[in-house]
């Protein structure tokens, strides 16, 4: 029995960092699942290099995974970490800035040898483990490689294979430190290596070794419990935004009774939506990897014409290529969901980094007057809800809908509970009915109270009709060059978007009262950081509120009134000021932009300081 003293913590931030080859992402993901299972609230931030396999041991090659978990609600991966696990010197060098003073460093000494020092451009004589530069921290050094190898002698495995188990040692040790269940990971290992028993057992063995290391050695004076968070009952799993997006689309497919068609072309960071969906063919989910983004959206338009729940998805550069076809879908008044998992731009930009800089593209990025509905998810699990909403609105209103996500929530995880299908809103799809000669001519652009037109499927008797990208006469849908008809149709297409406002929830204040000194108005993946910042500020007595907009076009009908309730409105965004432009124009409120454009999420403290500065 370990001599470690048990301590109770409210929340902890751990960062695993190592070489791309060290399996830190897998370690983090496993820890995430165990922690979700344990019932903590959590938020994660994977931070991997742009290259597929960045050069070994270099700074460019460092791959990190940060997780923040606790017994209270958690909204961000944490600004700074309490525990930093580093597999080599490059990982330490790259991540020390993220460690709290006095925080714990768990270092794999083997990763600090001459070779690694050289690769990380650290002078021979400046080994941080020895030059006393880490005295402000609680440094634990372990030769993980040595122990791992020892644990696996006479398993018959080669050194290369053996060393690949290193991360399991770390995982086991941290599991021990925080009383995490190991079963999940054991099952995972068994499944993953079912074809290779030797490797399977090796991994399990090494994880045990890690656990035992904590248990038996005196290295760790303390051991921590983090009680489950108070969350609604149910089974939770750690889910990433892109997975949640896929599940949200599938849920909409089930609810609407329509087969889903996803036409796409791979692109970082949107590809995982395709990868996820393609696993669900048994739910009648159809995925099509087209030759490019134009074919992707066009195939989806074809599928929509045929009566499928049609989705297309990409990231900025791919969305740019879809803009012409989005115009067509707008003219056709066809249900279509366009997913943009945003990344840092412009052009190819920083493909693996996050940004919110495609909002204006979604709003205005087409030729002609071409309004569409725009929604944005605010967290990994919210991707489920908003993806579902995107489908609901597209189908109910016969209109293209943009669904905006971003690299940060797409790859970040948080606990998520499978919803009951019964708790999801209805999606009623009514296709136009067959007609006989006596029913008279079918009018493809006749409109209902939502101004949406009938969805008339090929194959239905008597509904033969033609649609297209030329301006069409209202009601009949025939080509029309009539000046007044064109003006009417432009207004109708806009009004159609505006009316969606009657079918979405009113804007809520996420925290703080209806009126006050300052409103933090956010959208998308910055939710967690802004919420946390607001909590801190209010804790310090600032009269600040936070509202987070998930319905961006149209805005909830009460947004204007909310804005008027505050002396100052600040719009923090991970771009050079986009929502703020729309707000200033639409509501004529002198909103203040606050921008970060570094390919990184906001840190709550940054926001706190900025708001104080504004209020000062």
């Amino acid at each position: 029995m370990s001599s470690a003293i048990e301590k109770e913590l409210e929340s902890v931030v751990i960062r695993f960092a190592g070489d791309s080859g060290d399996g830190m992402q897998l370690t983090g993901t496993q820890f995430t699942h165990a922690t979700a299972l344990h019932g903590n609230d959590l938020s994660t931030f994977p931070d991997f290099p742009a290259e597929i396999r960045a050069p070994l041991g270099t700074l460019a090659g460092v791959s990190g995974f940060q997780i923040h978990f606790g017994s209270t609600r958690i909204h961000t991966p944490g600004d700074m970490c309490d525990v930093l696990v580093v597999m080599n010197v490059a990982a330490l060098k790259a991540n020390l800035k993220n460690l709290k003073k006095g925080g714990v460093i768990i270092a794999n000494t083997d990763g600090f040898d001459a070779k690694n020092m050289r690769l990380a451009n650290v002078p021979e004589d400046k080994n941080p483990l020895e030059d006393g530069s880490l005295t402000e921290y609680d440094l634990k050094t372990i030769d993980v490689t040595k122990i791992t190898r020892a644990a696996l002698t006479d398993t018959g495995l080669g050194t290369k294979e053996i060393d690949r188990c290193k991360n399991m040692f770390v995982l086991g040790l941290i599991y021990w430190m925080y009383h995490r269940p190991t079963e999940g990971t054991i099952d995972f290992i068994k499944a993953k290596f079912k074809k290779n028993e030797a490797v399977m057992n090796a991994n399990i063995k090494v994880m045990q070794a890690g656990w035992n290391y904590g248990e038996t050695t005196e290295t760790f004076a303390n051991r921590y419990t983090v009680a489950p968070a108070k969350m609604d009952a149910g089974v939770y799993r750690g889910i990433m935004g892109n997975q949640a997006t896929a599940l949200g689309l599938i849920a909409a497919s089930v609810k609407s009774g329509l087969s889903l068609f996803y036409g796409t072309y791979p692109i970082t960071p949107a590809s995982d939506v395709l990868h996820e969906l393609s696993k669900y063919k048994n739910y009648n989910i159809k995925t099509f990897q087209a030759e490019d983004e134009i074919a992707a959206i066009c195939s989806a338009i074809g599928a929509a014409f045929g009566g499928s729940l049609a989705i297309t998805g990409s990231s900025g550069p791919g969305i740019a290529l879809k803009t012409e076809a989005i115009g067509l879908a707008t003219m056709l008044e066809m249900p279509l969901v366009i997913i943009n998992v945003q990344r840092a731009g412009p052009s190819t930009g920083l493909p693996t980094k996050t940004e919110q800089s495609d909002l204006l593209q979604a709003y205005y990025g087409r030729n002609g007057e071409c309004p569409v509905v725009v929604l944005a998810a605010q967290s990994p699990s919210d991707c489920f809800d908003m993806a579902f909403e995107a489908c609901r609105i597209a189908l109910d209103h016969m209109i293209p809908v943009f669904f905006l996500s971003d690299g940060y929530i797409a790859n970040g995880a948080e606990p998520w509970r499978f919803p009951q299908s019964s708790n999801l809103p209805e999606i009623k799809v009514k296709f136009a009915a067959a007609r006989s000669k006596d029913d008279g001519k079918f009018m493809p652009y006749e409109r209902d109270e939502k101004l949406s037109r009938p969805w008339a499927l090929p194959g239905t008797k008597g509904l033969e009709h033609r649609i297209g990208g030329l301006e069409k006469q209202n009601i009949t849908g025939n080509i029309s060059y009539d000046p007044n008809n064109h003006e009417e149709m432009v207004h109708l297409r806009q009004e159609k978007v505006n009316r969606v406002a009657d079918y979405i929830p009113l804007q809520k204040l996420d925290s703080g009262p209806e009126t006050g000194d300052l409103l933090i108005l956010g959208w998308g993946g910055t939710y967690g950081a802004l919420k946390t910042a607001t909590t801190i500020l209010r804790g310090e007595g600032y009269n600040v509120s936070h509202a987070h907009v998930r319905y961006l076009s149209p805005f909830p009908s009460n947004l204007g009134d909310i804005l008027k309730g505050f002396k100052t409105v600040v719009v923090p965004e991970l771009n050079n000021g986009q929502l703020v432009k729309i707000i200033r124009d639409k509501y004529f409120v002198d909103a203040i932009p606050y921008n970060k454009i570094q390919g990184l999420p906001f840190m709550s403290t940054e926001v706190v300081n900025k708001i104080k500065e504004i209020l000062a």
């Binding site: 009648n284 030759e291 014409f305 115009g327 297209g468």
Partner: protein
């Protein structure tokens, strides 16, 4: 009630929209032939869908009383692929021009041929951009003088048949606006083929490229310039069917039937890719001495390749079964 029972006529397939091509445009004939063929296919009208891109030719769907989409430039092929994949029950037709399919739509065109969905493509080739008032197209002959090329175009033209074969098309044929019977036969054959049927139709744009195919359509030159390919039949042409094609190794040569027996002629075999490729290269400038006659009819049919919609949906069924 049995749909097919009610006999459809070509009138059933013409919409109430006024046809707005220039008087004398070759498009009229193609519209007429399609409206003539469709009723005989024994298929309920509502199962036909015509998808087009942009161009004069792409106005076609408006004149058909079927389901139709006049989409955007070059993308009809991609839209049709998505529709056919999800609605294999429909008869999907693509209407496109030489600019629409060979220029801006080239990528979707070759990818569709590669995947082989069971759709029919009518490629209206007038060797010009009609709707934009007469610029040269990727099928215009080199040196073409147009609004955009006052000194003549420098680009070499595509050979649409060769390109389609290179992209592994499973049905490749050529016909012309001025020969209704031939057109109808080829279109029907294309419809019957399971897979993508690529049908190039020589179509006269009498406003911007009048007479481009005259020598293949005018009584005077026609028989000398056209090689009508019929499966299993020898390749014969000439004013009085007095000429034939023979192969000397890989080299096709024109022979006079006075000197050579019909039995020694090249027998057309629709299923032979190499021979189809050789025939596709009968594409030289008819003004040249000893040029080859231009082949019309079916170059190639491959029935061994399954259709994209089949494979796509078989996979779905397997998944759903589990």
């Amino acid at each position: 009630m049995n749909e097919v029972a009610e006999k459809l006529t070509s009138k059933d397939f013409s919409s109430d929209q006024e046809v707005r091509w220039c008087p004398g445009c070759g498009d009229y004939s193609i519209l007429k032939q399609v409206q003539t063929v469709l009723p005989d296919l024994g298929r309920p009208k509502e199962e036909f869908v015509f998808i087009s891109g942009i161009g004069c030719s792409s106005r076609f769907p408006y004149y058909m009383d079927t389901f139709g989409m006049h989409s955007i430039h070059g993308r009809a092929t991609a839209i049709a692929t998505g529709l056919k994949a999800t609605r294999p029950d429909l008869s999907v037709w693509i209407i496109t021009g030489d600019g629409d399919s060979m220029s801006i739509g080239g990528n979707h065109f070759i990818h569709m041929l590669r995947r082989n969905p069971d759709v029919n493509v009518l490629l209206f080739n007038n060797q010009i951009y009609g709707l934009t008032k007469g610029q040269y197209s990727p099928t215009s002959e080199q040196g073409k003088v147009t609004k955009s090329t006052p000194m003549g175009s420098v680009d070499y033209p595509f050979n649409p048949i060769a390109l389609a074969l290179g992209a592994d098309a499973t049905f490749v044929a050529r016909t012309m606006d001025r020969d209704p019977k031939h057109q109808q036969a080829v279109i029907k054959k294309g419809y019957e083929h399971k897979g993508t049927s690529m049908i190039e139709i020589y179509q006269n744009c009498n406003v911007f490229n009048d007479g481009a195919f005259e020598i293949y359509t005018e009584k005077a030159s026609k028989k000398e310039q056209i090689l009508l390919m019929e499966n299993g039949k020898p390749l014969i042409f000439g004013a009085n069917d007095d000429k034939g094609i023979m192969l000397d190794g890989f080299k096709p040569i024109i022979v006079n039937l006075a000197d050579v027996s019909v039995n020694d002629l090249w027998i057309h075999d629709e299923t032979d890719l190499v021979k189809a490729t050789i025939l596709s290269r009968f594409y030289d400038d008819p003004s040249h001495e000893e040029h080859k006659p231009r082949p019309f009819g079916v170059f190639y049919i491959n029935t061994k390749k399954s259709t994209f919609d089949e494979l796509f949906n078989n996979q779905m069924e397997t998944a759903l079964a589990n």
